[in-house]
Symmetry: C2
Subunit: 203 residues, 2 copies
């Protein structure tokens, strides 16, 4: 149907997406010119429009999906196995490590602020990412509740929402201030708070 890609074509397409993603991280969404992508990936304009008939919009959409997926992949296998406090700490460390390394170059930043307005589809991609992310955290909390490590009275979904928001804000502040402090504070204090409620059963 929609498929008419040879093996070579498939490879080229993938190369374009990966190269464009790198370019977006480096320069930011609206500073990326198709020319940059062409130079970076060794492709021609004809190819770009061959694989992305909708032009820049379609390309950015593919990049957005690529980057969104990567965000969750980078948190594995921790994110899907928040089944003990050491596991939670390992996840925390991975997040800090990842965003510290990433620094100012943030794909999400572009996704939310800019691509979101342009492509209506990008909005859906971001929402989907947040949804999956929060769901994983919620499951982690529920598991800890089932083992008695977190107060069963706690609204797991609400707590996960707060934690997710904290992480997003922490990353945002990392982008603007260049310091990881906010993200660290959120993770440590929130996890501490989750642990505090359990202990002997609360009230």
């Amino acid at each position: 149907m929609t498929r008419a890609l040879t093996r070579k074509g498939e490879a080229t397409r993938a190369r374009i997406v990966a190269g464009a993603a790198a370019e977006v991280r480096e320069r930011g969404v609206d500073e990326v010119r198709l020319e940059d992508v062409m130079a970076h990936t060794g492709t021609s304009k004809g190819q770009l429009f061959h694989y992305f008939p909708d032009g820049k919009e379609g390309l950015l959409l593919a990049v957005a999906q690529h980057e969104a997926d990567q965000v969750l992949i980078d948190q594995e296998p921790m994110l899907s196995n928040l089944t003990s406090w050491p596991a939670w700490f390992a996840w925390r460390d991975r997040l800090i490590e990842r965003y510290l390394a990433q620094g100012v170059k943030c794909p999400l930043n572009g996704l939310l602020g800019q691509t979101g307005r342009r492509a209506p589809g990008a909005q859906a991609i971001v929402t989907g990412l947040m949804w999956r992310w929060q769901k994983a955290i919620t499951e982690g909390i529920r598991h800890m509740q089932s083992t008695g490590d977190i107060d069963p009275e706690l609204d797991a979904d609400r707590a996960a929402a707060a934690l997710l928001a904290g992480i997003q804000g922490g990353v945002l502040l990392l982008l603007s201030t260049g310091k990881i402090d906010h993200l660290e504070a959120v993770l440590d204090l929130t996890i501490d708070s989750l642990r505090a409620g359990a202990r002997t059963g609360g009230s």
Copy 2:
């Protein structure tokens, strides 16, 4: 020195900034054309470059400062008087109300993602805003510690950093999902957590 503005000129300049700010909220930073600002404010291109010799960049910088100030002003007088739990709740309510009303139209969004890259000065504006914001929260926590309403052992600055990050993330998620839930969860759970530590003195 740098002043050569008549009363009329001052008024026109202010009108341009206000109109441009509205336009930025409405369409997003990189979708705003100078032409839009001209139409919206009833000015000509000559005027724009008369009052903002650096062109779009200078105008956006002025808009950024304008919007950043507004963010804090909108939280007054609550933000500067976090001296009792009812005051904290009033602040919470104001935040929810403000951002609920604002919805998807966010000046900060543009500030962070886009203007930040373009104008090096915009980065400073955002950082300054966050700094002032966090300082106000820290002072609120310190005051509550002085009255024994919050555990004096708590690191006030760290807690404020976490709360600020939560708020930022909550707003970010409001922008992408359209729902206020995350912001609400952050505010309620974090304030609850602050209250929990005190009570009878902790350990």
